[in-house]
Amino acid sequence: MEWKLSQEQEDYRDALRDWLADTAPVATVRRWLDSGDISEFERRYAADGMAGVGIDERLGGQGGGVVELALTAEELARAAAPSAAWMATVLAVPALAGRAEVVAEAIEGSSPAAVLVPAERVPSSAPWLRVDDQGRVSGRAARVLGADRAGTFVAPVRAADGRVALRLVTADGPGVEVRRRSLLDRTRSVADVTLDDAPSAALDVDATAVLDEMARLAAVLTAADSLGAMQRMLDMAVEYSGQRRQFGVPIGSFQAVKHAAVSILVGVEAGRSGVYYAAASLDRAHEDRLRHAAAVKAQVTAAGSRAADTALTIHGAIGYTWEHDLHLFYKRARLDEYLFGSPAVWNDLLADSLRLV
């Protein structure tokens, strides 16, 4: 494997970064968040052709794999883009094998998809909803990422005979109630989804295998998100400490401040190496890909959370204000630590795979 991105991957990353700088500069993002309406972002993201990257061409995507998805996650976080629908959709794609039309609608932006797992759980350990012998699904999935944006749900269900499956449910169909919840991180959203005999269609996939894959993908993409937020906060902290003067000098000239910024950099560098290795590992279906995914989820999102605190410390009081942009990234990184499982939970998964006592 190569320890660097291909030219194509770098070009993609640069193009996405430029697009985000044009379309979603932070002032615009704040405007969307304050108005509560982020549909403009989702519409333009789809319309300008960004949404299919990392999705198999046979499913209507533009090709590329987990590395491209990770690059996307990192850049979106770096811009604090309201990307819950994107994340939910790409995590649902493994469940939608053979359902190109559903994927196409999701990519076009008209109908993002979301797997009904609670956002704080490792997807492979999420609770099952109930399904009857007519395919009607009942139960409640709380705090599902992007469920308020989705047009299609993938419901993990268990039948009376104990067999599990994944089934397709239309978000605005009968028996479906979606209640949005508010997050500290306004750049993402979750919603409680309550199903009451909601009709569903079968998906011809191995439910357990798909949820395992979703878990690994969620781990890597959340780590990539954390990486992007961390990088942005580092850049802000360095810039601020170069400008802000106290005791007659820029505060960045104090060793304590320098070392603090460097500690973020160390986390970013380690995180970047880890995340892209893990992404490549998923792309290649490496036999240790679960361990790689678990390691980066646990390490990088924990580092991101610490980096958020350090960046806030470097900014001092101004970093604590609403008017300053830091809190957007601070909250993003703090959510990433717990999104799809805390570091402790992923370390447990890792430990189990090592078969220690």
Binding site: F254, Q255, A256, H259
Partner: protein, 388 residues
């Protein structure tokens, strides 16, 4: 609430510091390197009467409490003597507590004055290869035989056994499986280290090499019943009372090493110039040392509270354990930072901070590990389900 030490305590501190100052870092480096017991130091402290600090006055001691004993060991350690100095005195200063409380009058009269005078060197034999934190699992066994007991077994990590005449030995007189409760059936003896029946083998260690730590192989050691401390089967309970004071004393030692280390670090940081200025002017050097000062001061307060509670006869398990935890953490961190402050010279033995580092490290393990303290606080104080 009065945060001042009493006049006696202040006097003790000052006097101990003065006496300990006569043995400089060079002395300790030499005894440590040569693996030689510091007899000169020990004898000086014995002569000045310090070994009997907690021994009751009627047996030739001063009858002071744990506060005074911890101040003594803290100042010894802080002088640069570290764990070597402290451990050479430690057993005499407090270890005989079970004998004081539960030993026969004859045992006390025969031994305590000699301990107070320093003539009698003693050690403490509890730990075994299969029973460290889990004391009730010891297997060294004392079988009653007429007026004697015959003892067989193995001990490990017995400090100062090489130099000792007697040992306070914990055995079982009833096997673990045969005891109604696991804490029953243990019996304490205070007896001679009969080299014909006890093979003493020093263990090579990372540090604190002036005071040996040893494996003991006990083979048909015959001891008279009169050497038994208190009643058969109650040994564990006799030890319990000494556990909290023990934590306080080691906490004091860790704290002292931390102070010694910080002192050297500050001195070096003021003297050593790099890039045209004293290295102490760099925040990367200064802040860790200031942070260590704050933590040592906080740990000290915890220790003072713990020893005060014990001397007042009040429960002090929470405080003694916390004091050991915080003092060991702060002491070791200060020693590590002192080493780092000295740069390459810290890695050499010349500036002594390496020795402080090696010795401070021990206090995170003994007399019980930091993790075990957390076990205790978690289950016994917070009331969380016991995890061990």
């Amino acid at each position: 609430m009065d945060f001042e030490l009493t006049e006696d305590q202040q006097t003790i501190r000052k006097a101990v510091a003065e006496l300990a100052a006569k043995f400089d870092d060079q002395y300790w480096m030499e005894t440590d390197t040569a693996h030689e017991f510091p007899h000169e130091f020990y004898d000086a402290f014995a002569k000045a009467g310090w070994l009997g600090i907690t021994t009751p006055e009627e047996y030739g001691g001063h009858g002071y409490g744990i506060t005074e004993a911890s101040l003594l060991l803290e100042e010894v350690a802080a002088s640069g003597a570290g764990m070597n100095g402290a451990s050479s005195l430690h057993m005499s200063i407090f270890g005989m507590h079970p004998v004081v409380l539960h030993g026969s009058e004859e045992m006390k009269r025969e031994n305590l004055p000699r301990i107070a005078s320093g003539e009698l060197h003693v050690c403490f034999g509890v730990t075994e290869p299969g029973a460290g934190l889990d004391t009730t699992r010891i297997t060294t066994f004392a079988r009653r035989n007429g007026d004697d007991y015959v003892i067989n077994g193995r001990k490990v990590w017995i400090s100062k056994a090489l130099e000792s005449e007697k040992i306070l030995l914990l055995t079982r007189t009833q096997k673990f499986e045969d005891s109604p409760r696991k804490t029953d059936g243990l019996t304490l003896f205070f007896t001679d280290l009969d080299r014909d029946h006890i093979d003493i083998r020093p263990i090579r260690k990372m540090g604190r090499n002036a005071v040996s730590s040893n494996e003991l192989f006990i083979d048909d050691l015959r001891v008279p019943a009169s050497h038994r401390v208190g009643e058969e089967g109650k040994g564990f309970y006799y030890l319990l009372d000494g556990l909290n004071p023990e934590r306080c004393l080691v906490a004091a030692e860790a704290l002292g090493i931390g102070r010694a280390a910080l002192r050297r670090a500050v001195r070096y940081a003021n003297e050593r110039e790099v890039f045209g200025r004293p290295i102490g002017q760099n925040q990367g050097i200064q802040f860790p040392l200031a942070d260590s000062l704050a933590k040592l001061d906080a740990a000290e307060l915890m220790l003072r509270k713990a020893t005060w509670l014990y001397d007042c006869g009040l429960p002090c398990g929470r405080e003694a354990n916390t004091a050991k935890y915080l003092c060991a953490e702060a002491g070791f961190e200060a020693a590590d930072r002192a080493l780092q402050t000295h740069g390459g010279m810290g890695y050499s033995e010349e500036y002594h901070v390496a020795r402080y580092f090696r010795e401070a490290r021990l206090t995170r393990i003994a007399p019980l590990s930091q993790e075990m303290v957390l076990n205790f606080l978690g289950s016994h104080v917070l009331g969380l389900p016991r995890s061990y």
